[in-house]
Amino acid sequence: MQKRFTNGKTGLIPLEVSGLSYHADDRPLLDALDVRISSADRTVIMGPNGAGKSLFLRIIHGLIAPGAGDVRWGGRAMSDDVRRRQAMVFQRPVLLRRSVAGNMDFALSLRGAIDEEKRDALIERVGLGNARDQPARTLSGGEQQRLALARALALEPEVLMLDEPTANLDPASVLMIEEIVNEAHHAGAKIIFVTHDLSQARRLGDEIIFMHRGKILEQTQGDVFFKAPQSQAARDFIEGRIVT
């Protein structure tokens, strides 16, 4: 049974994508994608490297204009207003040349006044309570990504998108990031999580979208997907065979 949004907050769902294509030098990186994401569940987009997952995420968030096709959030085309209700965590965290608290304040100030209590609670939550005044770019990789996540959550997004946020991170940071993502989900945020890590997809994927070579091959419930994948590429991927 799929969860539905009950708090009336996420008017951005469903996400409807139709005929989405993106070419680079005539090479199709995304090939006429049609997809509808309508549940409040955690959606995991997975697939091998080069499948087009990150590109897809960037296009639906409006960071890149598609070559063709249409993206609608709750029936609306992408606009600044729609984008302000979303937040994105990048694979390589983009941290400002400021302190940990300064990075948080920057995000908070864009959405109104700086609430120091809320800021400090978020910093504490991601385990950076002792590093509040430390220059953000001197943090370790895992700490940087946790700060990026806290900063994204400070925006109180209705849709939280994460682009392979835990690739190359230490296990403790991976665990903490997954926990916080789950908390955000319970608080009512729609999660769209891109990963090529199979076990992570099992842990987080209420719904799985499996991509391969710029196409969406499957979109099913997570338990269904891992038990009975429909496509050969997905079967190979799950069984750990190299998918090219």
Partner: protein
């Protein structure tokens, strides 16, 4: 003609005694160059932020133009400002020729392209890194420019110091539009030029010593800024 040792001794005595003429010249030098720096920084940083974050047509041409203007010969700038401000010129009615304001205008023209070109590069590099994040936040252009200027603060301060170094050491432009008038438009570099030609090496050398100290201080500040920025990973 004094010998070198004699001149140096006199120079040090002048500096140590806080000679009023000397102090007046130093004060005017700093006033002119710092004012020019302030105006150039406002203009140059604005140009930098605008060019670095825009995609308009002719952007490349502006960048090339700025770079080309970085090497403007001071005497030519002086000549152009002179023509505009002279009684027969289009701005003759302002009566600004041979005033500190004219010198400020000349130095501003001289260093704005330097600050503009260098800050465009600085801001462009940071913007490239932040662009996706800023787009994701749906920030206004004003907010983007503000954030980039703040995050580039260490590098931009270095840029400003480079501009100041050029202004304070420059003689060609200000001697033409200022005229090196005693107690009115005489600054360190023009005084050195005059005193040397008169053979009064003591004052020239005293001013020269100050200029060298200023120049060393600028370079030391640049190095200190870079080290601080690196330590904080803000570079």
């Amino acid at each position: 003609m004094q010998d070198f040792g004699n001149a140096l001794e006199l120079a040090i005595r002048l500096v140590a005694s806080g000679d009023s003429d000397l102090m007046e010249i130093i004060a005017l030098s700093l006033r002119v160059s710092l004012t020019a720096l302030l105006v150039s920084a406002i203009l140059g940083f604005s140009i930098g932020a605008l060019v670095a974050t825009s995609t308009f047509k002719g952007r490349g041409a502006i960048k090339i133009l700025l770079s080309a203007l970085m090497g403007l010969p001071p005497v030519v700038v002086g000549l152009i400002v002179y023509i505009f401000l002279s009684n027969a010129g289009p701005l003759g009615w302002t009566q600004l020729l041979y005033t500190p304001t004219a010198m400020i205008i000349a130095q501003t023209l001289l260093i704005t392209p330097i600050i503009g070109a260098l800050s465009t590069q600085v801001i462009e590099d940071i913007y490239l890194e932040y662009k996706d994040f800023f787009t994701s936040l749906a920030m206004s252009r004003r907010a983007v420019a503000g954030a980039l200027l703040w995050d580039g603060r260490y590098s931009l301060l270095t840029v400003a110091l480079a501009g100041f170094g050029r202004a304070i050491a420059e003689v060609g432009a200000i001697i033409i539009v200022g005229g090196n008038i005693n107690h009115l438009t005489r600054v360190m570099t023009t005084a050195i030029a005059l005193e040397t030609s008169k053979g009064d090496l003591a004052l020239a050398m005293a001013l020269g010593l100050i200029l060298i100290v200023v120049s060393l201080a600028i370079n030391a500040s640049v190095i200190a800024l870079n080290l601080t920025a690196k330590r904080y990973a803000y570079a």
